[in-house]
Assembly symmetry: C3
Homo-oligomer: 162 residues x 3
């Protein structure tokens, strides 16, 4: 993307850095789908999990992300009904079923698949400290780095905050 | 943005690719306002509608996007009150009135205006399949593409995920 | 980031433009943490406050941003309970305490610190009009600009929409 034709970096690869900040199921898929498309197109991919997005790589949470029903007008569920116990579970089950039909894996498998395909996984140190998580809590494929390290590695990349 | 001064691409135009992923009224305007400003500045614009953002180009939904009141602390509506039937409608009406005062069109007109101004509209194939939408359901100005095609067309562009 | 090696712009600095659009406490920190890391890495930083994000620089609101509990499955609070009066205050207090432990300042001090460190602060004119805010309502470090001015100043920058 940013070669200048005058030095050895001419062949530098296109790079996409995606900051994953959400812990809801419906916002966990977009970064993974885009990262997958990018890897299939030969683009370098870094995924940086921060704030609620850390749950996407937490061993005990990544299998249980949910779709929020209240505060999400796209669900077309009346607000009072959306607040009823169980509605979020219904919406989550429905979404998982549709995603499975499309042959997309569940979050944990999807992340492992991306790691195998060469995407780099990073966990935000500050967010881990804030949520009192240790390296035991997250998948071993993820490397823990600080925000400054992320800034340095994302030089020249296209950025997405999801 | 990324000319290298050594080949025929020297005059390549600056490009902005906006991924529209939200179906709430308050998050439907930012991509359109930014796309409009970009077109007026002579920047190439691609809008990629995915996940809940597909509702922005769905014929039967684009006129009825709503502002969520619960889960949105910026509304300054107490949580219990925000959950009352009708509060979201009140907030939506208020926002539409303010936006109209500023001479911004409603979502459907705004999108048509952007298309006329040369912005390219794309619908995400995977999201359409997931929501069981066909090309009959979305506006005809939008072209249906996959995530890989989007990755390829966004090379060298500035990216936004909204 | 995008020098072409053939003109005086060769030494142009890497630049990050962050669009801040959210007024909840948990989504106010990510842009500030990233902006801080960028400044510490010597990267130019522009922060553009728009829509609900304007509350981050509103004198009477920036000290009182809250964490939403409903519509945020990452809070792991049952939906009915999340809607109870006071739950958002509890979550907000908990988050503030954790952030303080990490030596991060509160929002108002954080923004002042970033301004002192050379980050540029911009308020979106359209959003101010929509919310009926005047320049008296926002901090004096912020300059009011339109979306087109923002598009022009963000040329060649890496973009984030938060």
């Amino acid at each position: 993307m940013t070669t200048n034709g005058t030095n050895g970096k001419e062949s530098e690869n296109r790079k996409l850095c995606i900051i994953c900040s959400k812990g809801s199921l419906d916002m966990a898929y977009p970064p993974l789908v885009l990262a997958n498309a990018a890897r299939m197109s030969g683009i370098d991919v870094d995924l940086f999990f921060t704030f609620w997005g850390l749950e996407m790589i937490c061993k005990d949470k990544m299998k249980n992300l949910k779709v929020p029903t209240v505060g999400n007008p796209s669900m077309h569920i009346p607000t009072m009904l959306g607040g009823l116990p169980g509605m979020s579970t219904v919406a989550t089950t429905m979404m998982k079923r549709e995603i499975e039909k499309l042959d997309f894996p569940e979050i944990d498998e999807f992340i492992e698949m991306l790691s195998d395909a060469g995407a780099n996984l990073y966990a935000c140190k500050m967010s881990m400290d804030m949520m009192k998580l240790t390296d035991e809590d997250i998948i071993e494929e993820a490397e823990i780095i600080g925000a400054m390290e992320f800034m340095e590695m994302s030089e020249g990349a296209q950025l997405l905050f999801i």
